[in-house]
């Protein structure tokens, strides 16, 4: 190499670097085609280009669906529904963008970042109710899907009580796949019968049962996990303590968060926490649920997705685990619903509509729900596919009073929920009921309907 040329080569190299950084920033397409033509020796570079080219070719034939179903029955249920999708639309590649983390708390942070950055997936999982309406509809991110409901006749087969919760101003914004129940008490039948305890029906019976178990040497009869599972427990105890009318009034702005009834509910919750395992904050919901079937704890409060998990790890209903409504909430069905949405400007809109059609279909729901451990949003499902627990949930869904879940997005939007979650976290740290209630009052005033 002649010395004369070296400065030029260096300059060229630098210019190329600048072009690589700046060019791809300003006009990515042009830069890509330019470099794709020249044979690059940089393997990493080659691979990137190849990826992008492939993505271009597959434009009409892929659909990226975002969910937090990464483990256990949830992931298996999603796989089953993807199987139905693959049969019906063999030429559309399914991109499973699932993000782990209990109740979708991690996943929703990732989704928010992506939406904030204009990188929406083709469809995503959302909880029916205020989470969708207060967060995504308010931010003008969703397209109404009334046309899908009309074309497919879903309005006739989906529960009437559900439609107002997923609509705003007459526009339906999501396709519900399933119904989950939040207020379920899971128990270990062997432990209860050994100690002569019946499944408790009221908070007082529950406290008495747990006192008896503690007296029999079980330090922590109630299993709990990390912070969001405490929020889940809190909403069910609040429902038990307040009753459905006062509970619902808290969310529509007609109830008073500073009332003596709320104080009593917080006291009940504080008492429940005295029965909880000391390492709760280090456990996931699965870990906590497993403590019950393993016999390390007698009770666990978790949504009925836990049933899918119990079966997956090899336990049988009634022998391995039993269930009842959370004490004091009998006759109430505290529900949540997973649903999928159509974002405005979905990268592959047709493919997204194909996915939503499968998600709302009887085949899709009957593939998904028995495995996931939930009941279908549709009322015309094939009852022979569902196990004992799910059949009982279907019956309750039809006969009980329906109230919404907080942790799972029905009654409060993301901002309000995150304020309540912080208030709860502070309570877990300092144990002050007074501060907890003050923070709840402030949260409703700043982010809820109490302005």
């Amino acid at each position: 190499m002649s010395r004369k040329f070296t400065p030029f080569i260096l300059l060229l190299l630098f210019a190329m670097l600048l072009a690589a950084c700046g060019g791809s920033a300003d006009e990515p397409e042009a830069a890509d085609t330019d470099t794709a033509d020249t044979a690059s020796t940089d393997e990493a570079m080659d691979e990137e280009m190849a990826d992008e080219e492939m993505a271009d070719e597959e434009m009409a034939q892929s659909v990226e669906v975002f969910s937090w179903w990464t483990g256990g029955g949830e992931a298996a249920g999603l796989e089953a529904m993807i199987g139905v999708f693959a049969e019906k639309y063999p030429d559309i590649a399914f991109e499973n963008a699932a993000v782990a983390g209990g109740a979708g708390t991690n996943a929703r942070a990732v989704l928010a970042t992506r939406l904030q950055a204009g990188d929406a997936p083709d469809s995503w999982q959302g909880h029916a109710g205020q989470e969708l309406i207060g967060t995504y509809v308010a931010a003008d991110q969703l397209e109404p899907v009334n046309f899908l409901f009309e074309e497919n006749g879903w309005l006739e087969v989906m529960p009437e009580t559900l439609i107002p919760l997923i609509s705003q101003d007459g526009n339906i914004y999501s396709v519900p796949v399933n119904i989950h129940r939040a207020n379920v008490l899971w128990y270990n039948p062997t432990i209860l019968s050994e100690n002569g305890i019946d499944a408790p029906a009221s908070l007082d019976e529950w406290f008495a049962a747990m006192d008896a178990l503690q007296a029999a040497g079980m330090d922590a009869p109630l299993a709990m996990g990390e912070q969001w599972t405490a929020l889940h427990l809190f909403e069910t105890v609040a429902l038990a303590s307040l009753g459905p009318d006062a509970y619902e009034a808290l969310w529509d702005g007609s109830g008073d968060w500073g009332s003596a009834e709320v104080t009593a509910a917080l006291e009940d919750f504080a008492k429940v926490l005295t029965y909880v395992n000391s390492d709760a904050s280090a456990l996931s919901w699965q870990d906590a649920a497993q403590l019950v079937v393993n016999g390390d704890a007698a009770f666990n409060v978790m949504g009925d997705w836990a049933e899918g998990y119990f079966r997956e790890i090899g336990f049988e209903p009634n022998t391995g685990y039993g269930w009842a409504a959370v004490p004091g909430t009998g006759g109430n069905f505290q529900f949540l619903s997973d649903s999928f949405v159509l974002p405005k400007g979905a990268p592959h809109r047709d493919a997204a509509i194909a996915w939503l059609t499968v998600a709302g279909s009887i085949e899709g729901q009957d593939a998904f729900n028995p495995v996931k451990g939930s009941i279908p949003a549709r009322s015309d499902a094939d009852r022979s596919l569902y196990g004992e627990y799910l059949l009982s949930a279907m019956d309750d869904w039809a006969s009980n009073r329906v109230v919404g879940s907080l942790t799972h997005g029905v009654v409060a939007n993301d901002a309000w929920k995150s304020e309540i979650d912080t208030a709860l976290g502070l309570f877990l740290a300092d144990g002050s009921i007074e501060n907890f209630q003050t923070a709840l009052v402030a949260g409703c005033a700043s982010s809820g309907p109490c302005q």
Partner: protein, 295 residues
């Protein structure tokens, strides 16, 4: 002629980088500052003027008070612990022991690992389960008959954050060891010899001769570790997820911005973090640059 051409070339070569740093660092800080003075709550930007209300709210926010408390505890334990362990190891290794280079490499290797890996492993080591489910270090202590060491680690009420300092010390004390060892090696043997001739014991030599000479290194290490400590994020996320009891400003910023969509509050927390780092680092940089200019 040539000189001018070179000068222009020099400017042309560095200006893209300088410009990029100014935009990405100082431009973005200004932008964040603007967000922190806005009403932006929700997915879509809203730059409506809010004055300093976000900062005022933050100062009264009990969660932010926990953050400050946790940061102070963590910083004291992590920086203090790393300095002590690092100094101790450096002094040990300075005695001309056999296998010195092996030990030196051993104490340094955690530096090469990410906080995420450290957190994932220590999360299992510090498993707080009790009774029949006991595991991790607690199980080891139990097997060795060292039951008094069994701990609830990061689930200890009020003081859980102190447990997080242990893996942090594990990761960073090799670094302070290397700094101190470099400092010790730079001290001429003649100084020790002179002290020995005067009848000083080895301990006295360290206490009165060597330690004062290591003071500049201690200062450097305190600044470096201190600013790492103020920014701690990955380690706690990997070990304990998101829980208010172990909250620090960096995690609060992350959850309030991306879970709660409180962009204004998130930006304000970011600015407070910047301020705390600036208070720590700027005097140090100023001092370093001035002494360097004199030399």
């Amino acid at each position: 002629m040539r000189f001018n051409k070179d000068r222009m070339l020099a400017v042309a070569l560095v200006s893209p980088s300088i410009l990029a740093v100014f935009i990405f660092v100082y431009g973005f800080i200004a932008w964040s500052g603007r967000v922190s003075l806005s009403e932006w709550v929700g997915l879509l930007p809203n730059y409506e003027w809010a004055g300093f209300s976000n900062y005022a709210n933050l100062l009264q926010d009990p969660r932010f008070q926990i953050d400050i408390r946790n940061t102070v505890i963590f910083t004291v334990l992590f920086v203090g612990g790393s300095l002590l362990v690092g100094l101790g190891l450096a002094v040990l290794l300075d005695q001309g022991l056999r296998g010195e280079s092996f030990f030196r490499s051993l104490f340094l290797f955690p530096m090469a690992i990410s906080f995420i890996v450290t957190g994932v492993v220590w999360r299992w080591l510090m498993n707080p389960a009790t009774g029949s489910r006991i595991s991790g270090l607690n199980l080891l202590f139990d097997n060795l008959g060292l039951d008094f060491l069994i701990s609830r680690w990061h689930t200890t009420p009020q003081w859980g954050i102190a447990a997080i300092a242990i893996p942090a010390i594990w990761q960073m004390s090799g670094y302070t060891m290397a700094l101190y060892l470099g400092g010790l090696r730079a001290i001429p043997e003649s100084i020790r010899e002179a002290a020995r001739v005067d009848g000083a014991t080895e301990l006295q030599i360290y206490r009165f001769q060597i330690l004062p000479m290591l003071r500049p290194i201690t200062l450097s290490a305190m600044i470096i570790l201190g600013h790492i400590s103020l920014k701690v994020f990955d380690l706690i996320v990997a070990m304990a997820g998101k829980q208010v009891a172990l909250d620090v400003p960096a995690i609060y910023m992350w959850t309030t911005t991306f879970d709660g969509n409180f962009y204004n509050r998130g930006a304000a927390i970011g600015m407070m973090l910047l301020l705390s780092v600036a208070v720590l680092v700027i005097p140090y940089l100023w001092y370093t640059l001035r002494t360097e200019a004199k030399v």
